[in-house]
């Protein structure tokens, strides 16, 4: 019976941790998407100085998340975002408008995809 109680407690803990992780991932993804949108707006209005500033902030925020995300997310996906971020930063530094916007759109999609993949829904289950 003791093992049963231990299993029930562990299952509840794992399930709660899963819900918390999903929630945190969604929140982080929303936050990063907002930052990406800000950089995009700066580029569209040709405000390269602000774009450089905001991409640095985005990079630093990503660094904070990247510390604990590998515990739950495929490391390959994390690497892909990091590579894309480095490319986007370089395009902004070189003021390459279309390349920078394209790269940021890719990052936005990848960041949005992370919580989507962890969600408990029929699509992911099947």
């Amino acid at each position: 019976m003791r093992i049963f109680i231990a299993i029930i407690i562990s299952t509840v803990l794992i399930f709660s941790a899963g819900l918390w992780v999903n929630d945190s991932l969604q929140e982080a993804s929303d936050h990063l998407s907002e930052r990406i949108e800000m950089v995009c707006q700066d580029i569209k209005s040709n405000d390269w100085e602000n774009a450089r500033e905001n991409i640095k902030k985005l990079e630093s925020r990503w660094g904070d998340y990247a510390r604990w995300w590998p515990i739950i997310i495929d490391h390959q996906e994390m690497d892909n975002i990091e590579f894309s971020l480095a490319r986007a930063k370089e395009y902004i530094n070189e003021e390459k408008r279309s390349l920078a916007l394209g790269q940021l759109a890719e990052i936005r999609l990848m960041v949005k995809h992370l919580p989507e993949k962890e969600k408990v829904n029929l699509k992911n289950i099947l």
């Binding site: 093992i3 299952t11 794992i14 590998p70 739950i72 390959q76």
Partner: protein, 222 residues
């Protein structure tokens, strides 16, 4: 490289712990659902071991889930007869009073050669000697011979042999097992005295036990 070693050790430890908690049955005695769980666990542990891109937790949580499922199913099959029938299946009688149960064998897709092989494995060469042959849920065949064909037991001859218990190990590789000494109501002084009588000490003894008759057996280290 070191990462692989650490991840392998973590996954190996987790798998051993969970399998240990699942029980002591051998592969041949596993129920179908237990076999499925064992195969799945080994695969789940192997994938994050080889691929460091996969978070280790992606291997550990499914292993824990399978363990929880196993404990739940075992508990259900322990408590409910009907649940046991669904989860583990039911034993099938293949021979009854030396008659082959053809219908049952067809239902189980169990051919006569398989049955004869299993019977030979149990040292039975003649179906006519068999009272019952039961195919257990684990896949083992239990054979009950006709009363006139089974080996003679002491009870058949009216003999009542004395009580037999297991020998109690007292020393292994020079180390005294104090727990077992207490079990036979003796202490270290008694053991050393017994060894001195035979010209040795516990440190020099490789193995010693006391049998059911109270006789001390020992062998010195070479």
């Amino acid at each position: 490289m070191n990462l692989f070693i650490i991840r392998t050790l973590i996954l190996f430890a987790a798998t051993v712990i969970f399998l240990r908690l699942m029980g002591k049955r051998q592969i041949g005695q596993l129920q179908p659902y237990e076999l499925v769980i064992i195969i799945m666990i080994s695969e789940l542990a192997a994938i994050p071991m080889q691929n460091t891109s996969i978070p280790i937790i992606n291997g550990l949580i499914p292993i824990f889930t399978l363990f929880a499922a196993h404990v739940t199913l075992s508990f259900l099959s322990l408590k409910s007869e009907s649940a046991r029938g669904i989860i583990c299946g039911r034993p099938s009688v293949l021979i009854e009073n030396a008659r082959l149960m053809e219908k049952e064998m067809r239902k189980l897709r169990y051919n006569i050669n398989d049955l004869l092989e299993q019977l030979r494995d149990k040292n039975v060469s003649n179906i006519a000697d068999v009272e019952f042959a039961i195919l257990e849920t684990s896949g083992n065949l239990s054979v009950i011979l006709k009363s006139e064909k089974r080996p003679i037991q002491p009870g058949d001859l009216g003999i009542a042999p004395g009580h037999e218990s297991l020998p109690v190990t007292l020393v292994t590789d020079g180390k005294v097992n104090h727990k077992n000494l207490r079990k036979i109501d003796q202490d270290l002084d008694w053991l050393e005295k017994e060894f001195r009588k035979k010209g040795t000490t516990s440190k020099k003894v490789f193995y010693a036990h006391q049998d059911a008759q109270g006789q001390l057996f020992f062998q010195n280290k070479s």
